[in-house]
């Protein structure tokens, strides 16, 4: 792949208008990873901002003609994973944020979205039109609803497994062809957003975390506004409580009593978004027990905390809460705060009721100055003893590399995802070298236990892809065979999820 030539830029300008071809130094800075210590490492050559699917198709044709690599982004807010920046410096960002069409089917609880629609946009649309459907929002609501689902992002409600709620895609393939998946394969189908499987092989998940196509529209199921939301905020006193808490909650998760994905997080989760480190200590080493105790006392939190919410008809939510009461009866809960909302109450205002939020982003301020974070999130079997063992091993790594322990354990229906956040000051070269070394140590440790990561930063995509090693990396080889077949010129997102075209 070569840098875009003057002729390529000229063709792009002719296709979408010169004002939407962005090549200045300031433009390149706009599309860089601002959490990176060295933003130039993944800096793009420029960006293209098409208005519609037709322009996307034309851009792809031009990119093939000139062998220009494109890096599609929906809104580029994937902070902690590289933001808008491409794996390969010099790639051209394809910014879809101008594409903001929203089509809601209020009766059936679905929406068809273009990639530029952010969580705030969709929330505003539902509110303005008095549509009784709720979002599931992630911790950073500046992002794209479609982009988050395609990257397998998660949210707070019972619709929080966003990729699982996708129903039908419109995709521009790397040769410029246009495909609709599922029932959308039939022209004018009224069931595109209603029935996921379609006829024959299903392709929707092929476009998640991949570089096989550019999704220009995404169908998503939304949660009908429930009659009630009830549950508890639990706090637990000791690190060792993690094990029994997971073993208490997982049966309820499997049974469907708890339909959201509860996230058991440690004390730093609160402290890092509400304070900065220097408000607690000026010592550079890992936070000691005295500081941890002070943080817990200030915020009245446990070593671990988890927020459980049950959704639905009021009598069902009440019954679910009674099941929770029985499950935790006689167990060493440090504190329990009830949560109770029923239709007609004033808006509850939290992400548990689908309200967009951004405050979790404040953890980038933890070290003061110009900070950031990167996450390593392996998937574990849903057993308390295994989670506790994972906790002890990873916490030892935080100690070894001199970083503050910031982690959570999110309970899926049949798995636990251990999100390890590495908070850093990007202007501290010593700290940044430790962050990189620790990330690699986390990968090595998890891989030794045969745990794989579910999503990763652009810097580490090859590293993580290589851990999926069954039968001499057969999955990666399959991905690359598909990649070569669909994208022989390697124009689309080279290196995404460790997938490369041979000609890249």
């Amino acid at each position: 792949m070569i840098a875009p030539t003057a002729a390529a830029w000229r063709d792009f300008r002719a296709a979408i208008g010169p004002e939407w071809v962005l090549t200045s130094e300031e433009d390149r800075g706009t599309y860089s990873d601002h959490f990176a210590a060295d933003e130039s490492r993944h800096r793009p050559a420029g960006a293209l901002a098409p208005a519609d699917t037709g322009q996307v198709r034309e851009i792809v044709r031009i990119a093939n003609r000139h062998r220009v690599a494109l890096w599609p982004i929906s809104r580029g807010k994937n902070f902690g994973y590289g933001g808008p920046a491409p794996v390969v410096a010099g790639t051209v960002v394809l910014d879809l944020s101008r594409m903001k069409r929203i089509t809601v089917d209020a009766d059936n609880g679905t929406v068809l979205l273009e990639p530029g629609v952010g969580f705030f946009d969709l929330y505003d649309h539902l509110q303005a039109n008095h549509i009784p459907l709720w979002l599931s929002v992630p911790g950073n609501s500046w992002g794209s609803v479609a982009g988050n689902a395609l990257d397998r992002g998660v949210g707070y409600t019972s619709y929080g497994d966003h990729a699982a709620r996708i129903c039908g895609l419109e995709v521009v393939l790397p040769d410029g062809d246009l495909v609709r998946t599922g029932m959308g394969a039939m022209s004018g189908s009224p069931t595109w957003q209603l029935y996921r499987n379609g006829f024959g092989p299903g392709w929707d998940s092929m476009f998640c975390q991949s570089n096989f196509g550019i999704v220009t529209a995404l169908g998503l199921w939304l949660m009908p506004e429930p009659e009630a939301v009830m549950g508890y905020d639990y706090e637990f006193d000791r690190p060792e409580d993690l094990g029994w808490v997971i073993d208490t909650l997982m049966p309820l998760r499997r049974e469907g009593i708890i339909q959201q994905s509860p996230s058991i997080g440690n004390w730093l989760r609160s402290a890092a978004v509400m304070t900065t480190r220097q408000q607690w200590t000026h010592d550079k080493g890992p936070l000691d027990e005295k500081v941890i105790t002070a943080i817990r006392e200030r915020f009245k939190i446990g070593w671990w905390g988890v927020q459980i919410r049950c959704y639905g008809r009021q009598e069902i939510a009440e019954a679910s809460v009674r099941v929770l009461d029985r499950a935790f009866a006689g167990k060493p809960v440090l504190a329990r705060k009830p949560a109770h909302w029923v239709r007609g109450d004033p808006p509850e205002g939290s992400p548990f009721t689908g309200v967009p939020i951004t405050f979790p982003l404040a953890n980038a301020n933890w070290h003061g100055g110009r900070g950031g974070h990167i996450g390593y999130s392996p998937v574990l079997p849903p057993r308390g003893d295994l989670a506790l063992d994972q906790f002890h091993r990873t916490r030892a790594l935080y100690e070894k590399y001199g970083l503050d322990y910031h982690a959570s354990f999110a309970l899926g229906e049949r798995s636990v995802v251990n999100v390890n956040q590495l908070l850093y000051n990007k202007d501290d070269p010593d700290m940044m070298s430790r962050v990189d070394a620790m990330f690699r140590a986390l990968v090595a440790d998890a891989t030794e236990h045969r745990y794989g990561e579910y999503r990763t930063h652009i810097e580490y995509m090859d590293l993580v892809a290589a851990t999926y090693d069954f039968n001499d990396h057969a999955l990666l080889r399959l991905n690359e065979r598909v990649k070569v077949a669909l994208d022989p010129n390697g124009i689309l997102a080279p290196g995404k999820s460790g997938i490369w075209s041979r000609r890249t």
Partner: protein, 118 residues
């Protein structure tokens, strides 16, 4: 409100800087003043910065609580300057960049970041 000597010095530097930036016409399209000032009401240094600017002000601390409604609805023209924490700066920066503004300056001012987009 009481400011430490250190905060006062930082504020003076920030004020001098904003005036200098405002008059650096070459880089910012000839403007001599910001169209909008973004502050963080949780920080005395930032509140002072906003109070002395005499411009329209948005407080990111309030915006966090109210879905960034004012910032998202802002449709003014011209440069935007701010003195905020890093994370809030990046969020506002992203919003303004989506509207075509570009980063002109970014510098540390104590715990805060002093920035300008135009």
């Amino acid at each position: 409100m009481r400011l430490s000597r250190r905060a006062l010095l930082q504020l003076a530097l920030a004020q001098a800087s904003i005036q200098a930036w405002g008059s650096s016409s070459g880089a910012t399209g000839g403007h001599t003043s910001a169209a909008l000032v973004v502050c963080d009401g949780r920080w005395a240094q930032s509140r002072e910065f906003a109070a002395l600017s005499g411009r329209a002000v948005v407080d990111v601390a309030q915006e966090q609580l109210h879905g960034w409604r004012r910032m998202r609805a802002w449709s003014g023209q011209g440069p935007v300057v701010g003195l905020t924490l890093w994370s809030e700066y990046l969020q506002v920066r992203g919003l303004l960049e989506s509207r075509g503004l570009r980063l002109r300056r970014e510098m540390r001012s104590g715990s805060l970041i002093h920035w300008e987009l135009a």
